[in-house]
Symmetry: C2
Subunit: 285 residues, 2 copies
């Protein structure tokens, strides 16, 4: 199976991400259906013309009709949905997701998934700090990364279909990582940075410093305003990888602390020079 | 003494900050002289008309003529300069500085300063990521904080003169902190944040992640390009305060780590809610 205009696409979960997928795929000429337990989200999407069909309950007709099913749900809801309703899927259906962690859902789903359907994991690295289909827009995919996360069980056809999906959605770059590489990467560049921002805000009462904060402090804490339900779940679902990244970072902070405590100027300068050289690479992108 | 157009101002150290002071004070109608060991900096400033007189060596005529002497040097060079050349100062001269740490220079200078001159410490919280008088501009003071850091030995007249200086330079806000309050504040909002940015870049080889970094990682590491000579000195000169801030932050990271390790979702969510509430205060400014 390859992605063409005969592919019948079903999106399960019509929030910000599901809605943005629906918009991009409808704009690209596909027939998109959607399921969401919130009736308002479905009627909004139908009214806006970003889906052709919508429903609030999984039925054989609705689910069994889809060639490609995209799950845009929190990880645990996604896993539970599959457990309950996978019998409704048509044989040969390809399933994909938008989940920000990979090892855990792959492990869980691997325990029970029907052998006649195939799940190919993906992580669209895009988002907004607002929620709901009402705020959805395909513009968030511009300039962003789409990561396909295959396992040894995946077929080349499913991997290729998922890569086409990323391109069709409008992502600037489509790449592949293993589940372990993905979770390490996301633990480091996203989850660890959110941990740090939170710890900077909570490590002491800092309200009396608000008049003195410059750009540095504001930059490091911009992401400290955080959806606690979603981020605690993401942290816990990527626990092993995030613990490793936290330990690396805490260990490095302790190294800097010991160098300072010992008046070891040369170690401090070496770290600063390494930091400066590495950061320069990130500016070129 | 109060700041008026008869006040003869000498700036010692004509780099980015000294040059920016010179521009702002010349624009405000003051007669500004400058000393710098680099002849090119002096001739550039004379050619640009941002100083009236300039020299490369401290002489009795040059130094003894000034009512207000502004030191825009690294802390240790500032202290050494005073030790060697304070005999050239005129009786009654007021001295101030731009140094980013306060307890250490105040302690050192207090040991030997002539009793017939007065040092009032100040910290202009402004800067650019480039160096030298060639890059100086008074625009960096707009919207920024000017902090006067008096001790019990300072006279009200010197404190008031220094506050006037901050306003004349164009700072948005002029405030006062004790040396200890200042060093705690700067240890937290500036030095700790630079430590964190450096540790994020050096805690592991992250070059393979450059394609996947989004805004969060870039925001947290923007300041990881760092002048290692200057920042290692600032860290060491504020060692006690910075160690306290690092310990608070490292301890909080460990608290988050233990909550994650124990699957303690509620502690994670509580920290995230506190972080979100506190950060909202910083957005209002």
């Amino acid at each position: 199976m390859s992605l063409d205009h005969n592919t019948r696409i079903l999106i399960v979960g019509l929030g910000l991400m599901g809605g943005s997928y629906a918009r991009a795929l409808t704009d690209a000429g596909y027939a998109v259906s959607a399921l969401d337990t919130n009736e308002k989200s479905i009627s909004f999407a139908l009214r806006e013309g970003i889906i052709q069909n919508g429903g609030t309950a999984p039925t054989k007709d609705f689910v069994g009709n889809a060639d490609l099913v995209i799950f845009a749900l929190y990880p645990h809801i996604f896993i539970e949905w599959l457990r309950q309703y996978q019998h409704l899927l048509r044989p040969g259906a390809i399933l994909t997701d938008v989940t920000g962690v990979k090892a855990l859902p792959l492990r869980e789903i691997g325990k029970f998934l029907r052998p006649d359907v195939e799940f190919i994991a993906a992580h669209p690295m895009a988002g907004r700090e607002v929620y709901g289909v009402e705020n959805s827009t395909a513009a968030i995919f511009q300039g962003a990364n789409f990561i396909v996360v295959p396992t040894k069980e995946n077929t080349p056809a499913a991997v290729s279909l998922c890569r086409e999906l990323g391109k069709t959605l409008g992502f600037a770059r489509v790449s592949e990582l293993s589940p372990e590489e993905h979770d390490e990467m996301i633990g480091f560049v996203s989850q660890l940075t959110h941990c740090i921002a939170v710890a900077l805000m909570t490590c002491k009462d800092n309200q009396h410093l608000v008049d003195y904060t410059g750009d540095s402090f504001r930059d490091l804490t911009r992401i400290a305003r955080i959806n606690d339900a979603m981020w605690s779940e993401l942290f816990l679902d990527n626990k092993e990888a995030l613990l490793r990244e936290m330990d690396l970072f805490i260990g490095e902070m302790q190294t800097l602390r010991e160098a300072l405590n010992a008046d070891d100027r040369e170690t401090l300068r070496e770290k600063m020079r390494l930091s400066t050289a590495r950061r320069a690479l990130f500016d070129k992108k």
